[in-house]
Every structure is written in C-alpha cells, then in structure tokens.
C-alpha cells in the first residue's frame, strides 16, 4: 500500500525509471553492447559519434567502442554502488539500532566511533583505504562500507532514539515483549522509510565515488571500462570526439539523479531532516 502511494509521486517514478534503465543496461550489457569494451582498433581511434555507424557513440583514443564501454561502465558503477551502499546500510543500521535502542554506554561508544570516522572527509578516507587495501572494485566496495556506514548510523541513530522514546515502545516492554521483539516490531518498521531513502541516496553517492576514484586512476584497473576513467580520457579527445567525455558525464548524471530523486521522493517528509544531516 505504501509502495503504491510512493509510486504515485512523480519524483519517485522518474527516479525509479532512471535507475531501472541504468540497471537494465548494466545487466544486459554483454548482450546489447555492439563491441567488446576492451577490443581496440588502432586504425579507428577517436571516431566521432554517429548513430548509424558501427560505433554509435564513436571510439576512444584506442579505437574502443564508447557505447560498449559506457554500458560496461554502468555494470562497474552499479556493481560498486549496490553492494557498497547495502554493506554500508547493514553495518550502519545494525550499529544505529544497537546505539539508539540500548542507549547508555553502547550508544556513547558507537557515537564516538562515528565521531572519529566523520572527522575524516569521507572521500579522503575512502581514497586512503583504497590506497592501503589496493585497487579493484572489491576493495572499493569495502572502503565505501567502512566509511559510509556512518552516514546511516548518524541519521538512523537519531531517528531510532526518537522512536524509542515514544510511549508505544515502553508499552510493548510493559506488555511483556522481549527487547529483540520490541525492536523488530515497534522500532524497526518506523525507521524503514528513512532507511530506504538513505539507501537510495547512498547509492547515488557510491556511483559518484566510483567515478571520482576511477577519474583519479586510483581505484580500478586503468584499462577497465569505468565512467570516471572514460571522463579522464575524454578530456584529451574533447575536440575530436566530444562524446568520449559527454556520454559518461551524462551517464553519471542520470544515474545519480535517478537515485537522488528516488531517495528524495521516498523520504519527502524526512527531506528537511535528511539534508540537514545532523544528529
């Protein structure tokens, strides 16, 4: 029922469409990509975009198909963003529920951990984690989880505290509910919309992080089809083949906007509190 109500919001629908499109393209990339994204043809470098041709979006400096790389780039972006955001959510939410529900020493301890991690600018902590753990999508996901759990934890802990202080939670305890049951039945459902919203926003953030890290050439293999990498390359070929830069930039925009619209629409009522992002 709630889902239906969400769907009626134009923003959620637009966001959902954008995300579904990117997801579908990413999943189907091997089937629909016109070329092997790694296959280079040094006789066909920097072809401009031409829709009817064998390379609809042209080729890059190594003669690789930009469209194919774009599609496989979506695969990489989502394969970092989805597990990264989910992992961050699981870790952050578990700690937030523990902190918010148990309060006291647990809360202080977790609060301190959040405090310490948030003293690092998130992107910088991710960069040095990637540096320490080594490049590669798995390590990037791990870095995102290890840093961005605080986003969930901070906001959610606050929300959990608010819910826990509501009398129906006390009532459930008085009526004989165990802690776990109280948490599961009286607290968690009330925070789910927030969690879903945060998750959608986090996926957008993770897509940008993946793009940034690959733009800097730090996160993924240099020859892997990644949007950030494509943008970095496309800068050089801007005058010969502008699609090299514009296509991945547009892809990032659509994906991030999709996730943001989705999250924003879902958390419409919470929006003001979310953008403030303070607990």
């Amino acid at each position: 029922m709630t889902v239906l109500r969400w769907l009626r919001s134009g923003r959620v629908l637009a966001g959902l469409l954008a995300v579904a499109l990117v997801l579908a393209l990413a999943v189907l990339a091997p089937a629909i990509a016109p070329h092997d994204p790694e296959a280079q043809d040094l006789t066909m470098t920097l072809q401009p975009a031409h829709l009817g041709s064998a390379y609809p979006l042209g080729t890059d400096a190594l003669g690789r198909c930009v469209l194919s790389r774009l599609l496989f780039g979506a695969r990489l972006a989502l394969s970092v963003a989805i597990p990264g955001a989910l992992g961050a959510m699981l870790l952050g939410a578990a700690l937030a529920y523990a902190a918010g529900y148990l309060g006291g020493r647990t809360d202080r301890l977790i609060g301190r951990a959040v405090d310490a991690v948030t003293l690092f600018p998130p992107l910088i902590l991710i960069l040095i984690l990637v540096f320490a753990l080594g490049a590669g999508p798995t390590n990037l996901v791990l870095a995102i989880v290890l840093v961005d759990w605080t986003r969930f934890c901070r906001v959610l802990r606050h929300e959990v505290r608010v819910v826990v202080q509501r009398d129906h939670v006390a009532a459930a305890r008085l009526l004989g509910f165990s802690h776990i049951r109280t948490l599961a039945i009286e607290v968690v459902p009330a925070t789910l919309p927030l969690l879903v919203t945060l998750l959608a926003l986090e996926m957008g953030i993770a897509v940008v992080v993946e793009a940034i890290v690959s733009f800097l050439g730090l996160g993924v293999q240099p020859d892997q089809a990644a949007w950030g990498q494509m943008i970095a390359d496309g800068r050089t070929a801007l005058h010969q083949a502008p699609a090299n830069l514009l296509a991945p930039a547009a892809a990032i925009l659509v994906t991030v906007a999709g996730f943001n619209l989705l999250g924003d629409g879902l958390g419409r009522k919470l929006a003001a509190r979310l953008v403030e992002d303070r607990a």
């Binding site: 040094l42 050439g217 050089t236």
Partner: protein, 507 residues
C-alpha cells in the same frame, strides 16, 4: 664557440612572421616574461640527486654544466672553457671559467667541481650522479680553475657525461653550510636564473640572474606551470594561460596548430620509447618476453598516436646514430607470439600474468600506448595489470627491486652515444635498468671500459642486437616531441628536445 651567436641561430631555426596581438590572451603580458606549461615537477632541487630527463631543462636554468651542447648536440664549452680526455680515457682535464659566481655571490672554483663530481659522492650523498661518475677515483685541483678527473677504468664517454643528466655543478661551501634539506628549499646554482618560488606540483617561478656569466637571457621572469594532464595543458595554451607547452597528444597538437596565434611542432628527438623489462618474476621465461615483444604492433602505435611521425625501432638507439643496426628488424608477429607462449603453456584462455607500469602525461600518448600494448598482449595470451607511475617513482621502485615486469619508458640520450642508450638501460648496476641478470650485465660492464672507438661501437651494436634477441629490451618508437607555442614566441630548438627559456624571445 662559447659565444655562439644566439640571435643568428634564432633567425635560422625559428622563422616566424610578426603576428597580430593575440586574441586569446585575456590580459596584458610582459614582454620579458614567459610561462611554460610543463608536464612534471622536479624531484627536489638537488640537481645531482635524480636523473629525470624532463627536469633537465629546468635544472639548466638554475645550474650550469661543465660542458654544454649546441642545438645539433655537439659538445661545446660550458663552465669549462676547455677539456681534454687522455688517450687511455683514464683521466680528463678541464679548464674552468674564472668569471662564474653562484647566486649567493661566491665564486665558482675547482673545489666546487671536485665537490660535485667526487666529494659528495664519496661522502655517501644519495645522488644518482654516484652511478654516472662511479669510475672517478679522485679529482685533482691544481688551481682554482683547473681540475683533473682520475678514473679507475677507461671512461671514453666522460666528456659527454659532463654535458648530460645530472652533471650540474653545485656550490660546496653553501651546501656544506646549510645542509642538504635547506639546499632543497633554497637552491643556489650558477645558472641564468635563480629560484623565486616553488609550489610543489603547481608552479616554479624563476627570476633572471643578472650577474650571469654567459649571454643574458631576454626573459626576466620564467614561470613554469606544472600541469600533469595533457588536455589541461592544451586548454592552458589555448586560453593563453601559458605561452608554450609540450608533450600533448599528436591530434591535439595538430588541432592547436590551426589556431592563428599558435604554432605547433612535431620534433623527432633523441629519445626512444621502449619497454624496460625485468629478467625475473613473470618475465623470467624468455618465451614470454619474446612473445610480448612480437605481439606489439609498433607501426600501429605510431599511426594511432603519432600520425606515423614516430619511427618504429628494433634496437634501442635512434636511426642514424652510431649504435644503429640497419640490417636487423624485430618483426611484429602475433602468431609467433602465440607459438612462443604455447611452448611455455600459456594461451589467451590461460594467459601469462604480469604487471606493467607506465607514465601518464610525461610524453605524448604514453598512457594510451601502454593501454594499447596491454590490449595487444591480451590477444596473444599475456594479461598485464597496468599501473601508473612517474619517473622519480620509477627509480625509487627500481632501487627497491619492485618495478613491474615491464615499464613503458622514454629514455633520453641527449648525447646520442650508444653507451648512453644500452649502457644505462641494461647495466644491472644502473638506476634505469630493471634487468639484473649478470650474464648480460658483465658484457655491458665490459663495454664501458673499451677505450678504442671503433671497437667500442661495434661492441655496443652487437650488444643491442643480443639484448633484443633475448628479450632484455623492447624498443618501440623514436620519440617525437610535440610542442605548441605562441607564434610570437621564439625559442631555440635542440635535437634532444630541450626547451630552454634562456633561449626564448618575443618577436
């Protein structure tokens, strides 16, 4: 010869009509200042410390070398008015100028020469010149202007080395007084410019040294803007943020050449592009090395990235230089590569795995070439993981024995001698060479000590061939310098690609 007519030379080399005031330029420009867009920063200000070819022109502004080169790369006097190599190549006598002062006002003497080429090396300073001058056993200084270098073994290329990488004379008294760390922050040389400002990774500002002993540069102030990204360099020259820049992709250079106020140049230079390889790890197997070399389509690389302006190479020297072999080619042969790999049990389905390093933006299309090679290897059954480094890092890694199996490298040989190619690229004790196998190494070492010129050259030619045949060296292309400058900026073009602000002038 020292007072080479610079103006006359400019007239010959740079024939540029007077152009209308630049439309690109947003703000007025001083007539005696120039801004250069440079791809990389210096690794510290001790000029003896690291051999980074791209930093040489910058060091040449601040410091002087005992010998210099003219645009056609002949040795000419520098700080030394004259020099004489003994017939047995075991000593070299130089006569220093007596009118040279360092930026701090003290006079340059043979003591500084001795300090630079012997004492500080003997004192264990961590400098790369310790390798180029390892044969020096002593330097005698009979007078303030005379110095005699004594070598432990014949050093036929010693004069050339006095004009080559890292051979800049540094002030003994000042360095000893302030210490190495302070010298790094406030360097003092004898060069035509002194350091005014340095923001690491961003910009270097140099002011003219009005007490310079040589011809006084026209440019009072030189700003070197460090811009790693080639497209950012292109944008910078296009928008007028810099007046001259180098190492842009060939296509971008061509495009910029069409802009009315800009002049684009493609200059073949004495550098070669090659893969430096290790003799161990994933490349321990000779089959894999040779397969890797056979798999590379050098002509395609030249076509895709240099518009065919870069000549494919089979030996690590440039055509026309003494060490070149006309009768030897190493073919592009993917089938042979597959065959060699299958002999060692590898195939595209079961690829040999290696690591490969490349610079990014140090020379035109370096990163693209590296990725193209990775792609070529992939089709024959070599899977290479690519990483990016810069030259300074290359030496650090090599010192630690941690370079990848293959590194895309551009080697500068401003003096053109085969020794300075293979001798340094393949000698296990040299900072350049990741090839540590002593069998080849001993041969290289031997060649350094051959005093007879013909014998020496023949030896190097044979070595070049052998190195390629055993897969110790994978020469790719003769490097092409891409350079874009404002039409009204003249400079002296050197065969080794030096871009020296002291030779620049507005016309």
């Amino acid at each position: 010869m020292a007072d080479l007519s610079r103006r006359a030379l400019l007239g010959v080399l740079v024939a540029v009509p007077h152009s209308a005031p630049s439309a690109v330029q947003g703000y007025p420009k001083a007539r005696d200042a120039v801004t250069i867009g440079w791809p990389g920063d210096v690794a510290g200000w001790d000029p003896n410390r690291r051999f980074v070819p791209d930093a040489q022109p910058i060091y040449k502004m601040l410091y002087d070398q005992p010998l210099d080169q003219d645009p056609r790369l002949n040795l000419v006097p520098g700080l030394a008015k004259a020099w004489q190599l003994a017939p047995d190549a075991r000593s070299l006598e130089v006569e220093l100028r007596d009118d040279v002062t360092f930026h701090d006002g003290t006079k340059l003497t043979s003591a500084d020469f001795r300090w630079t080429f012997h004492e500080r090396i003997a004192a264990g300073h961590e400098v790369d010149t310790a390798r180029s001058w390892r044969k020096v056993v002593d330097i005698e200084t009979p007078s303030a202007t005379r110095a005699i270098m004594r070598f432990g073994s014949p050093a036929p290329t010693a004069p050339a080395w006095l004009a080559f990488l890292g051979s800049f004379v540094v002030p003994k008294h000042y360095m000893q007084k302030v210490g190495l760390a302070a010298f790094g922050a406030h360097p003092v040389g004898t060069g035509p410019y002194r350091l005014a400002e340095h923001q690491p990774g961003t910009r270097i500002v140099l002011e003219r040294n009005d007490a310079y002993w040589g011809p006084k540069p026209t440019m009072r102030r030189v700003t070197v803007q460090i811009i790693n990204n080639p497209s950012a360099r292109a944008a910078a020259i296009e928008s007028g943020n810099v007046d001259l820049t180098v190492a842009m992709p060939v296509r971008e250079t061509a495009r910029l050449g069409h802009i009315a106020t800009l002049e684009a140049e493609l200059n073949p230079i004495t550098r070669i592009i090659l893969l430096q390889v290790r003799d161990d790890a994933g490349f321990a197997d000779r089959n894999i090395r040779l397969a890797a070399h056979h798999a590379i389509d050098k002509q395609a690389l030249s076509q895709a990235f240099y518009g065919n302006a870069a000549v494919p190479l089979s030996v690590p020297v440039i055509p026309g230089s003494p060490g070149f072999l006309d009768d030897f080619t190493f073919p592009h042969d993917p089938d042979m590569a597959r065959e060699l790999l299958s002999r060692s049990g590898y195939s595209p389905a079961q690829p040999a795995r290696i690591r490969m390093a490349t610079t990014r933006g140090q020379f035109p299309a370096d990163y693209d070439i590296a990725r193209a090679i990775v792609g070529m290897w992939k089709t024959v059954g070599i899977e290479a993981a690519l990483e990016v480094l810069d030259y300074a890092r290359y030496f650090e890694l090599n010192r630690a024995g941690r370079l990848p199996e293959a590194t895309l490298y551009s080697f500068d040989n401003a003096i053109g001698d085969p020794e300075a190619y293979a001798g340094y690229l393949l000698a296990p004790h040299q900072p350049y060479s990741p090839w540590k196998d002593t069998a080849l190494g001993e041969k290289v070492r031997g060649l350094f000590d051959v005093p007879g010129e013909a014998e020496r050259i023949a030896g190097w030619r044979a070595l070049n061939r052998e190195a390629v045949e055993i897969g110790a060296c994978m020469p790719l292309l003769r490097s092409v310098q891409t350079l874009v400058r404002r039409k009204d900026l003249a400079y002296r073009r050197f065969g080794n690609g030096w871009v020296l602000p002291q030779t620049m002038d507005w016309i």
